[in-house]
């Protein structure tokens, strides 16, 4: 019974969507061209994704699988044209095997290419251990590159603006209070993130102030992001009402 009703809802919705599009094309609001079909496809996929708000359904599943498949295909194309072709095929393979090549092969690329090939050896039981070399390289390089960057971004870049004079240089009362508030916030939040000391007594009280600072900043961030999301929703609704239905001008 329930499955039947779901089926009718789905068929009814698709039928309504088809009827609307026939009407739009017949009335000339949508051109009978690739552009027109592109708008219909976009509107259909938008509605299919939004149908998840009602419940999981075949239309959502189709859109979801299409989305995943298209994104994977897109990634493969991007990987080939942006990375493999210019950095490996054109720079190493073509100059090595083509007599018409004008550039000398860049043999230095053999080492990273081998590391890439090792990744595929995970499919071999005997040689899968070689893939760990690649992982070790990637993880080690990642950590090595990020350590100075993290020190710069999360320690140095944060400390310098925090070391602001409280009263010298003709600061107003409000800017002095602001500086003191920032200092209190930074120090109390830092104390909240100390793990090897029990949060009792003075430490406990300061860390609670830190939680307050964190929650206030999260609240502000929440409101800001929700506004951003609403603008995304407005963009989609504008697409449906203006580009598809032609209700908005």
């Amino acid at each position: 019974m329930r499955k039947d009703s779901n089926f009718f809802v789905l068929v009814g919705t698709i039928g309504l969507f088809v009827c609307i599009n026939i009407f739009l094309m017949a009335s000339g609001k949508l051109p009978f061209s690739f552009d027109g079909f592109g708008v219909i496809l976009g509107a259909g996929l938008t509605l299919a994704i939004y149908s998840f708000l009602y419940k999981d359904n075949p239309a959502f599943k189709i859109a979801e699988n299409l989305y995943v498949g298209v994104s994977l295909g897109y990634t493969i194309i991007i990987t080939w044209f942006n990375f493999l072709k210019p950095d490996l095929y054109d720079s190493l393979i073509v100059p090595m095997f083509s007599k018409a090549a004008t550039k000398a092969p860049q043999y230095a690329l053999i080492f990273p290419s081998m590391l890439g090939v090792f990744m595929f050896l995970r499919f071999s039981r005997k040689l899968s251990w070689l893939s760990r070399w690649t992982f070790a390289f990637v993880v080690g390089l990642g950590a090595g590159v990020s350590i100075p960057r993290v020190i710069s971004a999360f320690i140095l870049e944060q400390i310098k603006p925090s070391l602001h004079p409280v009263f010298s240089g003709g600061e107003t009362l409000f800017s002095s209070v602001n500086t003191l508030l920032i200092m209190l916030g930074v120090i109390s939040v830092l104390i909240y993130f100390i793990f090897s000391v029990e949060h009792k007594g003075a430490i406990g009280k300061i860390s609670k102030i830190g939680i307050w600072f964190l929650m206030i900043s999260f609240g502000a961030s929440f409101g800001y992001t929700v506004m951003g999301r609403l603008s995304l929703l407005i963009g989609r609704i504008q697409f449906l009402l203006r580009d598809w239905l032609g209700v908005l001008q």
Binding site: L72, F193, F222
Partner: protein, 429 residues
């Protein structure tokens, strides 16, 4: 009486007129440079006073792509007056190629504290950087080549070219000496970490404060085991180079170990193929540690989609169809955080999130049962494993935070009294 009265008045009037006239002329002469600069009476200066001390040198602490030029300011500097630097490969060349053109009231040494520090006199000198490679349209730079520069001052049709020819050769530097503070901080923190790792090995019962989100891990896994439903571990969007992903794989290892003990079902969704492969290794090792290698299935650690929103759509689908009893969102998330956590909450799963993406933390806090905020994510693996190495690292980080607090208090007090050397000590370049 009346004439006596009128005379001083008329004399005063004449005297005042004369004084006012001279005062007006004097004021015009004195204020003319200022008025010209304000733009109220902006007009091109009829004569230009050339700057002095025109010098070129290799830009320190770079990869050898730029040459720095500096010269003193001129009294003729104004918004309508420009400096033009000409470049040539030959000292006796024509100097027709324009390397850079700047307004004469811009580009001072103050913009290059990494070279000149924070001296008050920096505002008295102009400073520019020239990229010979860009000037000569991507031509490969000969590292041994010396470039020659001439400076010209241009105001409308007036142009004066300095006789001085400055020259320099660009060469790369192995060390970026201005990053010494970064290096010293790293060395200091590394030394503290090593010390506390050794200390933690000698005293394994080191105190760690309670992290409520982690206490809930056992509860979530127990619930999943009782319900016979899977546990879903959702990675963030960053690759293995990200510290949050490294922390996430550490936590995954601990969760996988417990799941192997409980004989529950773990599913790990990934957005990055390398993260997926590392996760497979980590989960496999955890099952081996638990003595249950047979229970490990590589198919349960899989790549869903490599793009952000297809990843969300697919993970949302998995949540609604398989209805996991517990969802873990660990790593660095972007706009997908709320969609994932909201979908998970709608399925009734117990949800634990851990991220250092501060813009997404509010969404996890509102939609998940427990959230590991920021550094709690890094502390989590130490808390779960109680391994001396991780415990020692955590303790050392706390000491590092203590040092930072002291620096902040001391630096602010000193800066308030005009002593800014600590502020400059922690400058990032």
């Amino acid at each position: 009486m009346s004439s006596n009265r009128t005379f001083p008045v008329s004399f005063f009037t004449v005297k005042t007129f004369v004084v006012r006239k001279y005062f007006f002329v004097a004021a015009i002469i004195l204020l003319s440079p200022c008025l010209l600069n304000t733009g109220i009476f902006a007009q091109l200066p009829s004569f230009l006073i050339p700057p002095t001390e025109f010098k070129a040198f290799d830009t320190p602490n770079d990869a050898g792509e730029t040459i720095s030029l500096t010269w003193s300011i001129s009294p003729s500097d104004a918004p309508d007056v420009f400096y033009v630097v000409y470049i040539d490969k030959d000292k006796n060349g024509d100097f027709e190629k324009e390397a850079i053109r700047i307004k004469s009231n811009a580009s001072y040494r103050t913009a290059a504290p990494e070279i000149y520090g924070h001296k008050k006199s920096n505002g008295n000198y102009h400073y520019v950087q020239i990229f010979p490679k860009k000037v000569f349209n991507g031509e490969t730079i000969d590292k041994r080549r010396v470039y020659y520069f001439k400076l010209a001052m241009v105001a409308g049709n007036n142009k004066i070219v300095l006789d001085t020819i400055a020259s320099a050769r660009a060469h790369g530097n192995w060390l970026h000496l201005k990053k010494t503070n970064n290096f010293l901080i790293m060395m200091t923190l590394s030394a503290i970490i090593l010390y506390f790792i050794v200390h933690a090995r000698q005293n394994p019962n080191m105190f760690l404060r309670k992290i409520s989100g982690l206490d809930a891990v056992d509860e979530a896994l127990g619930r999943a085991t009782e319900m016979g439903k899977p546990v879903l571990f959702v990675h963030g969007l960053t690759g293995m180079g990200s510290i949050s992903t490294i922390a996430a794989t550490n936590i995954l290892g601990r969760i996988a170990r417990k799941i192997a003990d409980y004989d529950a079902n773990l599913k790990v969704v990934n957005n990055d193929p390398i993260v997926m492969s590392v996760s497979q290794e980590v989960v496999k090792e955890s099952y081996l540690e638990a003595g249950r290698p047979d229970a490990y299935s590589p198919d349960n650690v899989f790549l869903v989609a490599s793009e952000q929103f297809p990843y969300v759509a697919a993970v949302g689908g998995i949540m609604t169809r398989e209805r996991p009893a517990a969802n873990f969102f660990v790593g660095y998330f972007y706009a997908e955080a709320l969609i994932l956590a909201e979908t998970g909450a709608s399925t009734g799963a117990i949800q634990i999130a851990g991220t250092d993406a501060y813009t997404q933390l509010p969404f996890f806090i509102t939609t998940c049962d427990y959230t590991l905020i920021g550094e709690e994510l890094y502390a989590a693996s130490a808390y779960l494993s109680r391994e001396p190495m991780l415990m020692g690292t955590l303790r050392a980080q706390d000491v590092g935070k203590g040092i930072l607090i002291v620096i902040l208090i001391l630096g602010t007090i000193l800066a308030s009294f005009g002593l800014t050397f600590i502020t400059h000590l922690f400058e990032a370049f």
